[in-house]
Structures are given as structure tokens and as C-alpha cells.
Amino acid sequence: MDLNFSAEEIAFRHEVRAFIDASLPAATRAWLVAGKSPTKAMVVEWQKILNAKGWAVPEWPVQWGGPGWSAAQKYIFREELQMAPAPSPLGFNVNMCGPVIIAFGTEAQKQRFLPRMANLDDWWCQGFSEPGAGSDLAGLKCRAVRDGNEWVINGQKTWTTLAQHADWIFLLCRTNPEAKKQEGISFILCPMNLPGITVRPIITIEGGHEVNEVFFDDVRVPVENLVGEENKGWDCAKYLLGNERFGQARVGASRERIRRLKIIARESMDGGRPLIEDPDFRRQMTEIEVELKALEMTVMRVIAQDMKRADSKPNPATSVLKIKGTEIQQGVSEMLMKAAGPYAWVDGDPDEEGSNEWDLAPDWAFGLAGTYFNWRKQSIYGGSNEIQRNIMAKAFLGL
């Protein structure tokens, strides 16, 4: 048992940190430090910088542009990006659709899509959830019917994140309504600029436009846009969902936010003293720090197992990552909002026109409540935390 990173891994961390320091646009970093979501331009610019360095697709095989890193290196890279903070490579491209195409796609699909995905020449979005298919994803109804050399798609997707930016969508469609629900689904790629596609924004409670409804009305795509076999799309979906084992832990992101919290709590006053001196506040914050340390060790355990046995069966520790990772992020976002006291009431974004020219609130107070409201989503998406418990009961507890 040796719980420390090797000298090579530590050197790698320094290399990554130095590259980020030298290459991450200062405006992007400042934007993220303020707690805001990166703009499309920021994500695209940064991913092209990473791709030029050969670091945009850490999870992909070397043949398709991956850097050939170990699980530990991938973890270090992810963590350094989160702590910088820097935008992560677009998950829909590099962690979701890309790996599915690599595992199930044809050679032509790989040649056509993968390089543009890695360079973020195409922005992809995910068409899984539907109004009637949330936690019960296999209950989806969006139809694709074969007509000559085309699939004709009709139906509705929802909660489609950043569809407003997207050039392509990867879809789960029902191609055989007679079969058992998991067995009649296909994985189909569809350009977003086709006639018959309508994107309608969903504004979430904090006022942001992140998610959308996407409607398909006789949308036609060529048959070669099918990935894998017809009616075997559920295999692709399971592969995609099972692929993301660490993404939701986001240890580095939480550590960065706790640092931010400590800085804000020095500036924010409570009882005539800086809030950071209040024992009750400190105690709540420290409870989260302890949970985060345990989560970090849990991630390490999963990585160490992956490095030893790439095809190993799921570790019960993986199921902890989603639940604890999201609880911690939600907890920190709540403490950040509370740290601002009454100044958390200010709505919106200080960079929006005129919003803070009268110095309505400290700059750092903007958006804290918004993030708190927005981050309630974390325990809902990616398999709600209750679904995670169902999975644990079945897969690990034998109940």
C-alpha cells in the first residue's frame, strides 16, 4: 500500500499547472473565479488551445488523439483544470459521444467526427431525456422510422443542455416499438440545422438559459448516422453512462470553491468581526472539508483499481462519487450564498449592462445565490441521487 503520488506524477502535475498558467486566457480565469459559467467562445477557445497541445481528449486512445495518460494522470489533469479554474473540455464531445463512436462507430464515422469533436469544431449536445423519460430513460418515445436511405425522426427531447450552441445532437430514438423497451432503441447522430428541428429555451430558476426543449418534426438524416446496430442503442447508452466514473466527484472544483469561500468569509462581516472568525460558520465549512478529503481518497481508490485492472468490475466506492460529490458541491454553494448575507439578494451578473456601476453589492456577491439555486440540479441530473441509491441497492448490496 502506497498512498502517495509518484515523483513522475507530481512532476506531471507541475507541468499541467505551468501549462495552464501560461495558456489559459486571463479573462476566462477571472470569469470562472467569479463563479460564472464559461461562455461558448471561452470553451471553444480553450479547447482549441488544449487540442493543439494534445490534451483535449484525455480519455481517448492515442490513435484518435489521446495523450496516452494513466488513470492517475487523467485525474491530475482534471483536478488541475478545476482548481485553476479553467473550462473542462466539452463533456458531450469528449466524454460522451466521442467514446461511444470509438467503441461502436464505423471507421468512416470515426474519421468524420472524432477530429472535429476533439477540436470543438462541432459542438455536440445530448438527446436522451424526454418529458416522459427521466429517471426511467428506457421509456423514451422519440421515434425514428426507416424510409429508404434515411431515418425520419419525430418526437421531443428535453433538458437538452446548451442545445442553443450545438451543431450536432446524439439521440436515443425508438426504432422498434414492438420490442421490450430497452431492446427497441437506436443511437443516431443528427445535425442541429436541419429543417423540422425547433429549439425552445427553458429558463431555470436562477434565470439562466442552460437547458432546452428540442422538437423533431419529420427530421431526415441519412442511415449512416446510426451508431452501432439498429435497436442496440441501449448498449451505447449504458456504455456512455457507465463511462463517467469520476466526473461527478469534482474534487478539484469543490476545493477551488472552498478557497473562494474562505476569501469571501474574510471580507464579509458578522457581529463586527470577519465571518471567518465565527466558530459556527467555520465548523460548517470544516465539516464539508472533511467530507471532501474522504471523497478525494475515494476517488484515489477507484483510480488505483482502474490502473491495476482496467476491466475490473465496478467498485462500490464509485457509487459514492456521484452522491457525495454533488452533496459537497451543493453544500459549498449554499455556504457561499450565506457568506454574502443580505448582499446575496442581488440578482444577476455585475458585468451586465449597468448592474454594478452604482456599487450595489460587493462584486463577489453577484451570482452566489444564482449558483446555489442552479446547483440544486446536481442531485437530479446524471441519474438522480435516489436512482444512484437504487443502483447501489441492486448492484452492491444485493437487496
Binding site: 500500500m1 502506497d2 498512498l3 502517495n4 503520488f5 509518484s6 506524477e9 492517475a72 476545493r255 472552498i258 478557497r259 474562505k262 476569501i263 474574510r266 466558530p279 467555520r282 465548523r283 465549512m285 470544516t286 465539516e287 472539508e289 472533511v290 467530507e291 471532501l292 478529503k293 474522504a294 471523497l295 478525494e296 481518497m297 475515494t298 484515489m300 481508490r301 483510480i303 488505483a304 483499481q305 490502473m307 491495476k308 462500490p316 466506492a317 457509487s319 459514492v320 452522491i323 457525495k324 435516489e386 444512484q388 441509491r389 437504487n390 447501489m392 441497492a393 452492491f396 448490496l397 444485493g398 437487496l399
Partner: protein
């Protein structure tokens, strides 16, 4: 980074597991508790035979040169078996001091400890000290070439069977000063120990020293105490994980067999989710127990203290959840003395409060600025 055990470590854990499988059934343990010592002298002899008692000492001193990880693996098995013998007080606490003692003392005592002939205890707690290691009223005075100790120590684990005590006593400064605390060794014949049973079925003693002749280990002793306690906290973390493992497994088994409303209660989602939450708490605790080994080995005293506190917080929180819910999900059966689950719960509860419970350590860690350093 590697969380796997070495071959030697696996063999060690297996042999301890096997020893307990043969000698520590529920009825056997009950008989040990009722015996004169309150634990099994026969098992103690087996510990010695297996090499557990000499494990962490240097080979040059008569030990087997084991590391903290080895100690922790044994502690985990102790937790699973709810072992009663004075292993923790002798090898982890007493041994922690003995390893840091003079060559002369090591030469004399290590072979005796390894053979099971000398049992050790750590006399630290006082009525007013609660969990503060530095709150020491017991006094030490120079007398001739040596020292004498006067004072009362409480809750001395296995103090009624110890042959030697390691004792904290103050030779300078006020009762709560961090300086002026010495670590001493006192032979049992110079102390009065009144033994009693603890809530978890173990043994402890109130120990009185009245001008007891003592040998000095460290004049500025608090750093030594903190180093030993950090190792003890790592062992306690593994012990707690062992207890939680069994309590959780028993609960799952019971859920699958207990029928109500015509089906096993494991089919009810509310209970499934509770069991899943127990697994989350258990795995977080297991992760933290690994960190405990790393933290106890940190050369920076502040980092070590912060790490040990973080471990106590996580283990304590997890142990409480797993312990309480294992009782709840069983229902009435786990409330009975005749069912093992409650005994794990009691041990977990006591484990939390050894060397400071989670509430004590969250306060200490928060006052020291937490784990994440602000930029």
C-alpha cells in the same frame, strides 16, 4: 499510488482473521467477558505466538519491524471480532511510547511485550481534561536521580491488567500549558489500579499514583504524546471500519431474511436507500482510514494534527450513522444483548470518543483553519 496490500500484509490479515474465526464466536466472547480478566488469556497467548505483540517494534529490539499499515490491518480484524484483549493498550499505545523510549528500556521491555509477558497501558485522562491531551494536573517531581509522580488518571484502558504504565505528568507550568508535560514510565506495583468494565464489554481502570517512582521518557513530552495518539487514531479508524463492515453486512443479511407484509423487508425502497446511505458512510470512512495512515506519518506536526482530527470527524460521523441505522433497520432484535449487532454499535460509539469524539475534533480542526488552505 497503490491501495492493494502486499503479499505479507494479506497473509497477516488472513492469519488474524483465521485466529478470530476459530476463537471468537459470540458465545466464546461472552465467556471471555465473564472471566476474571475480562478477556482471554488463551487468545493472548495466540497473539504472541502469531507475532502480533512484537510486530511494530524494530527487529534490533526484539520485534518484527512492522509498519503502521500492519498495525492497522490487525486493528481492522480486532474490530470485526470485537476482540477484548489488551492489544490496543499494549501494542498501539504502550508500544507507541516504547518504540520512542531509550535503547535501554526497549531492550528490557520489547522482548517481554512480544512474548505476551508484559502488558502496557497509557494513563492520560483526568477528571477535568476531557479530550485535551495537554490538560494535565498529575505532577512529576525530581527526587534524587529520578522522578516521582502523584495524581489520578481515569479511564485507563486495560489499566487493571497492565504491568507498566506510560503516564503524562506535569513538571512545570499551569494545568493547561502545552509545555512542562513529561512522559514517564511507572511500574504497576507502584500504582493502585481499580478496574471496571466499560460499556463495550472491555476493561479499564482508575489509576492512582502517590509519589510513584517513575522513569522519564521525554521532558517536553506533548509532541511524543501527539505522535503516538495520531498512530492510535489511525488504528482506531481501521478498527471502526472493521466494526462498520460487520454491522452493515449483518443488516443486509437480516433485511433479506426478515419477512413482513408477506415479503422480505429488503424489498422496501425506503429501507434500501437507508442501507445505501450506510454504504456511502462506510466507504467514506474506509477512504479516510487510508488517509489516517498517511497523516500519522506526516513529519509536520500541524499537518499531522489536522489530518488526525479530520479522520476522527469522518470516522465518528460514519460510525454514528452506520451504528444507529444498523440497529434501526434490524428493529427490536438488535436491541437485545443476545444479538451481536448491538455490541458493534456500542464499540463504535466508544471508538468515536477515544482520543476525542467527532465534535471535539471538528472544533479543533475548524480553529486551526481546516484542511483547504485559502490562497
Amino acid at each position: 499510488m497503490d491501495f492493494d496490500l502486499t503479499e505479507d500484509q494479506s497473509l497477516l490479515a488472513d492469519s488474524v482473521r483465521k485466529m478470530f474465526a476459530d476463537g471468537y464466536g459470540f458465545e466464546q466472547r461472552k465467556a471471555y467477558i465473564k472471566s476474571a480478566e475480562g478477556w482471554s488469556t488463551a487468545m493472548w497467548a495466540q497473539y504472541a505466538e502469531l507475532g502480533l505483540l512484537g510486530l511494530p517494534f524494530a527487529e534490533a529490539d526484539g520485534g518484527f519491524g512492522g509498519g503502521l499499515t500492519d498495525t492497522c490491518l490487525i486493528a481492522e480484524q480486532m474490530g470485526k471480532a470485537l476482540a477484548l484483549e489488551p492489544w490496543f493498550s499494549t501494542v498501539v499505545l504502550g508500544g507507541g511510547f516504547l518504540r520512542r523510549a531509550s535503547a535501554e528500556m526497549r531492550r528490557e521491555l520489547v522482548p517481554q511485550v512480544a512474548a505476551g509477558e508484559c502488558k502496557l497501558a497509557f494513563a492520560q485522562v483526568e477528571r477535568q481534561s476531557r479530550y485535551d491531551l495537554f490538560d494535565v494536573a498529575t505532577t512529576a517531581k525530581r527526587e534524587g536521580a529520578g522522578w516521582v509522580i502523584t495524581g489520578r488518571k481515569g479511564m485507563v484502558l486495560h489499566g487493571d491488567s497492565a504491568d507498566r504504565f506510560f503516564v503524562t505528568a506535569r513538571h512545570a507550568g499551569g494545568q493547561r500549558d502545552h509545555g512542562g508535560i513529561g512522559v514517564f514510565m511507572v511500574e504497576a506495583k507502584h500504582a493502585t489500579a481499580r478496574g471496571f468494565r466499560t460499556v463495550d464489554g472491555g476493561r479499564a481502570a482508575e489509576v492512582e499514583f502517590d509519589k510513584a517512582p517513575a522513569i522519564l521518557l521525554a521532558e517536553d513530552g506533548l509532541p511524543m504524546v501527539e505522535a503516538v495518539v495520531a498512530e492510535a487514531i489511525a488504528a482506531l479508524a481501521f478498527e471502526a471500519v472493521g466494526c462498520m463492515d460487520i454491522a452493515h453486512a449483518m443488516t443486509l443479511d437480516y433485511m433479506k431474511t426478515r419477512q413482513q407484509f408477506g415479503k422480505p423487508i429488503s424489498s422496501f425502497q425506503a429501507l434500501q436507500h437507508r442501507a445505501a446511505d450506510m454504504l456511502v458512510a462506510l466507504e467514506q470512512a474506509r477512504s479516510m482510514s487510508f488517509f489516517a495512515v498517511q497523516a500519522a506519518s506526516d513529519n509536520d506536526a500541524n499537518e499531522r494534527r489536522a489530518g488526525a482530527s479530520a479522520v476522527k470527524v469522518q470516522i465518528g460521523r460514519s460510525a454514528r450513522l452506520v451504528g444507529q441505522q444498523s440497529i434501526q433497520l434490524h428493529g427490536g432484535i438488535a436491541m437485545t444483548m443476545e444479538y451481536a449487532c448491538g455490541h458493534y454499535f456500542k464499540r463504535l460509539t466508544m471508538n468515536d470518543s477515544l482520543f476525542g469524539d467527532a465534535d471535539h475534533h471538528i472544533k479543533a480542526l475548524a480553529d486551526d483553519g481546516g484542511l483547504v488552505k485559502a490562497a
